[in-house]
Each structure stands twice: as C-alpha cells, then as structure tokens.
Amino acid sequence: MGDVILTMKGIDKSFPGVHALDHVDLEVRKGEVHALMGENGAGKSTLMKVLTGIYHKDSGTITYEGKEVEFSNPREAQDAGIVIVHQELNMMGHLTVAQNIFIGREYMKGKLIDDKRMNEEARKLFDQLGIDIDPTETMSRLTVGKQQMCEIAKAISHEAKVIIFDEPSAALTEAEIEELFKIIRDLRAKQMGIVYISHRMDEIKVITDRVTVMRDGGYVGTLITKDCTKDDIINMMVGRVIYEDPKTESAVSPDAPVVLKVEHLNAGRMVKDVSFELRKGEILGFSGLMGAGRTETARALFGADPKQSGDIYVNGKKVDIKSPQDAVKCGIGYLSEDRKRFGIVVDKTVAENSTMASLEYYMKGLFINKKKENEAAQKYVDLLKTKTPGVDQLVVNLSGGNQQKVVIAKWLIRNCDILIFDEPTRGIDVGAKSEIYQLMSELAAEGKSIIMISSEMTEILRMSDRIVVMCEGRKTGELSIEEATQERIMHAATLRE
C-alpha cells in the first residue's frame, strides 16, 4: 500500500427528513482495494455520490492528491481521475462497444467523430485487459458479463486514479468474477486506489485490503481485512452478533406427498430440459450462479414467460399453465427477485397490494368490500409483523423488508400452497432477513411448499431441505441437505456442457 490518495473527512449530508451521512470518514491509499460495507441504506452509495459530484455535501472535506476538491458533477470527477463502475449496467444498447466506452469524450477529426480511431483505442484497451470483445459490436448484442467488462474498460480508459466498483459482481458468473478479480489485482499493482462495494462477504475477504464499515449513515470503523473475521465485519455492520448456522438435516420426511412435479421444461434460451419435484412442507433451494436460468425456470413455471415444452403436475394432476393466472389458480405464488418492478404497486396501499391476487374473495356483489379487505390485510400485517402505520399506508413508504412481507402476505391471503421465493432477501437489511427466514421455516412447517431461489450460498445452506443446482439453463445437480456442502454445490454450479 502506498500513499494516501483520497481522504474524505467528516462528510455530512442531509435530505429533507433524513440525515443520510453523519460525519463519515474514508481514506483510500494508492495500490489498495478498500471495501466499503454496510447494510442497505447505510449510506455507501450516498457517500460515493457525494464523492463523484452527483450530490453536494453539507459539510466536511474531500482531499484528493493532496488538494481539497469539490466536484460539481460526475464529469469533473471523471476528468480528475475518479471513476465509478455502477451497479446497474450503464450502457447505451443501440451504440457500439467503442461508442459506449468513449461516450462523452469522443475522438474527433475536425468537427466529426473519428469512429475508426475509437475502435482502435478500444481494441487496445481490451488487449491490455485480456478480454476478447469486438469494439464494433452493438452493445445490446453482448452478454451481461461482457457488458460489465465494457463498463470496467470504460472506467479504466479514463486514466483513473481512483476507481469505485459498486457491487460489480452482482451480474457476473463465477468465471467472470475471477476475470474481474484479475483485473482488479492488475489495477492495484498499477498503484490505483480502488473502492469496492459489495455484500458478498467471501469476496471481501478475497480481494480487499481494508474494510470501512458504515451503519445508518455513520462511520463505524476501518479494519485491515486479513486481520478480521467475517463475524467481526458483520458485527460492525449490524451492531449485534448473528449466527448463520447451516441446516443439518431435512425436516421433510422422504414419503411426504409430491405437490409439484416439473418434467422436461424448456423455455427460451435459459431453460433447457429442467425436471424436479417439490414435496409438501419442503423448502427446495435453487442454487447456481447468476445467469444459470433459475429465475427463468421459475417464471416459465409460473407462466410469466412462454415455455416451449414440458409438463407440470400439481398434486399429481397435469396442469396447463399458460399465464400467471393459471398458475395462481393452481395455488402457485411467485415472489419476484425484482420487488419494485414485479412485486409491489408502490403508490397503492398495503391493503390494496395485499389483496391484489385475491380480490374476488373480498367482493360484495359488484363492489369491493373495503372493510373485509382491510381486516384481511391487518390480519397479515399482525401475523408477519409488518411495520406499517396502518393498512392504508402507501407501500412506497415502507422499508424493503416490510415491502417483501406485503408481497408474502399477498400470496398467503390467496392461500397459495406452493410459493416460489426468488431472492427473497435481496436488498433487505440483516435484521429483516432473519425474520423472513423464520417466516419461511414457519410456512414450511405449516405444510406450505417453498421453492427458494438464492444466490447466497449461506442462505441456501441455512434454509433448504433439498437443493437443486443449475448451470447455463440445465439442472446440473440435486443434493439433499445432509450431503450438501459449499464445495459440492459450487462444483455442480460450474458443471458445464
């Protein structure tokens, strides 16, 4: 580790009603990978937005290369050498790779853009990184992983001195993550300062040198990564100790009836010949890397996307599921991975969201029986311990975890026996997470059957009774909880054709 390149000291930022950053400190040295950790809403992104000029700080100082600076927009920060690789992919799908990389600072030949030179420069950049991408290809035709690599190439091409990675690995396959780490190590060797934001504890241990932890907009502390344990970091993040013990044996008897059987399901390019069974009272974990086709399988099963072939049996009876309507009629409920887009209607009330799938139960003739509806919603608010001032509260005002509970309530009110939980704890803080876990266990104990798709290995191992592993659209393994280990799952998850 070299000299300090960037110091943020006493950064304070308030939004109307929220004290988003409360005197936060951060120090990044040349040639280090510095992890920035914290629960969702801890203020990591806000801090980075202050740094790159998207927000303006209320007080505090930013010292960069020995000089105090304040950037008024991302462009200025970029020009100074501070670049951010965003969590969401920031690509212009209709432009080519090279055009994307050099957007905003095109090479010019007179008054016109020199596309030829841009392609050459992009190619050089990729060679340097050891990635094989054609700079003239249209961005939208690349895989998600490749697009992410382009993002990184773009960041590097800014002659950056400080690069911020905001959850870069979220959309990458294991192999691509390896590739990413290789690049990050290269960058570190070149004496760049790297800020690495991630929720994946394992990655933090592997790649970072120091960890700064934030909680509720405040600075908690900075640790040397190799000197601390996972639990140390988690403790700092939540302020309490959490034990994440894996499940050791299945709670489901082997002769429990099969409630859902899927045979030879094919859908799109991401689901190829998938077959599995789900038993009553079972939590069936779906593991695999990003892009393994788990969500796609769930969506095809649920009728959200069209399927090409395959048979589905519910309680032994063959059913034809063409749309989510059919699925719901069969007693299947689906919690989407993307809650905001597919789960809740944000500007409607808790009650309205809760009864979304079962409104016909709450009709009095042609009209909605508001009283009955509110009672039902209130019942599940109490049952799931949803924190809301009332059932007429707009869902947009709830926290992520409580929004998730509203979605769960929606399916429970519908009385679905088969529940598909797609990344149920994504974007939820640690406290709410364990509540969701407990809830799932209770549901299973009541006889509901659950398919849980998760990218977190610990979550899979902790919750599942049985684990299905997918890779590149195929089912590549099925493990009972007794025989499942991280290594075995990972082995299956990388079992390519």
């Binding site: 309507q325 409607k348 409104l359 009709m363």
Partner: protein, 333 residues
Amino acid sequence: MEKIKQNAIVKKIGFNRLVLICVWILLYILFAVLTPIMRPNNSFVSYARIISIMRYACFMGFLSLGVTFVIATGGIDFSIGPVMFCAALISGYQLTSRDWPLALCLVLCILVGTIFGIINGLLVTYGGLPSFITSMASMMIAKGVGSVFTKTQSVSWPQSTAENGWYRNLLSVQAGGIEIPVGLLILFAGAAVCAVILNKTMAGRYILCIGSNREAVRLSGVNTKKWETLAYIICGTLAGVAAIFYVAKNTIVQPGLGDTFNNDAIAGCVMGGTSMTGGVASIGGTLIGVLIIALLQEGILAMGYQSHYQYIITGIIVLVVVYADLRSRRRRN
C-alpha cells in the same frame, strides 16, 4: 395549510379538487367582472350562460370521463373525438335514411363507440402497440369509416319539435319557460357511476394498479389484458354516449372531423388531477376540469375574443397543472 388539509370535509372532497373548485369560482368572478368592461352592455352572470356552459360540458364531460379510464392505465386515446362523430354519423344515418326507431339508434350510437373501444383495446393490449400512435391511427380510421358509411354526407338529427326529437330532451328540457339542464344531471349521474367503477369495483382497482405497475399486477395472477382492454371499452362507450349529447346540442354532424375535441377532453382530464403516467385518477377532478374548460370557452367568447385564445390558455393551464403535479410527486419521492 396543514390544518386545512386535515379538515374532515376537505379530506372527503379532496384537497386538489377543492383547489380546482376555487379556480372555477375565481374564473367565474373574473369573467363576471371583465365581461362588462371588455364588452359594454354585456353581462356574464346569467342563467342562460350557465346553460350554455352546461351544453358544452355535457358531451365534453363524457369524452373526458372515458379518457380518464384510459389515462389511468397509463395509456392515451386520441380517437375519442372522431369516434364520437363516427358514432353520431352511423346511428344518425340509420335514423334518418333507414328509418330505424330512435331508441335503437341511440343504442347503436353507444355500440359504435364500444366497438372502437374494443378495437383500440385489443390493439394496445394484445397487439402491444403504443396507445398514442394506435389511437391516432384509429382516429383516421374512425373518420374514414364515418364518411364511407354516410357517403361523405353530413347527417342532420331531427329537431326537437320534429318526430323522434325527444332525444334532445336528454340535454335540456323547457319547463315553464325555464330550461332545465337534464344533461348536466345525467353527466353527474354518469360521473357518479364512473367514480364507483373506478374506486369500488374490481375493474377500477385493477385499472388503477395496472397504470401504476402493470407487471406486478400481471404476476399476481390478474388478467391485465382483460382489464386494460376494458378501460378502452369504457372510453369508447362513453364516446358513444357523448355523441348523443353532441347531436342533442348541435343536431348536425359532419364526416371527417372531430379531432378538435380530443385536446379539450384530455386537457379536462389532466387538469382534474389524473396523472399522465397512470395509476392516479380522479373522476371528480375530471368533471371539474371539464367545467373549467367549458367556463373558459364561454368566458372568452363573452369577453368578445375569438376562440383561438382558448386554445392557448388551455394549453398553458395544462402545462402548468402537470408541472405542479410533477413537482409535488418528485418531492414526495
């Protein structure tokens, strides 16, 4: 300010609607004061003028109520004006040239609107086409169909004194020298029904939710296409109803026209607080919005201006109202 908002009556009516009512009253006072100044010997405060406002508001109100449903789903319908004309042409042609009974023609009139609603709805939901360009295309088709059907002739519905003229009583009745605005009562009744549909029934619930987040509703196992199509059908049907009030006002209807009414109808709806992005709609607001536009039209005429000013003012008001809506929404998030 907060105190006013928390007041029970204010809450019941809705703060925004209350503001709109105040705007209406203010405008009325403004016109009442300015009219005698701008045009001597003239007054704005008279029963006849109220009736005149009502006559315009009636058909415009039904158009606007209909389009409120479509806008609530996040769509738009530019075909309502021409569809209204098309419906009046086809049914009027049957009435005058084919001697169909009047009651049947009124049903046919509404039905023609319904059919266009169905076509628009199917194209938008099952065809997946953007609503605004689809409805513009069907606007042309409605114009064309109307004129093909009547062989490009305008159609004169019967006068009130003539046989079959009773349909005009739907708009207003002369009783003892006083004109009773029956149409306004029907409009209010229609609005009440619309409000019930939008707020108290499954259809309304889903239409609003679809406007807010279509995918989430679909993944809840709801047949979103059905409900969204229904919004267009309601819109088309109400355009058919509007046609009856249009002919009750003017008796004559010409082929190839009607698109000028779209703007006022949409403006009335947006002014009333229905969000162009969908998910938020207010029937009461729409009603007041339409009344404001009708008042504007009457007031501008009364002050002695050509109607061109009305277009400009309506345009500006809509921009301002939508901007205020955007601002308050942005702040909330």
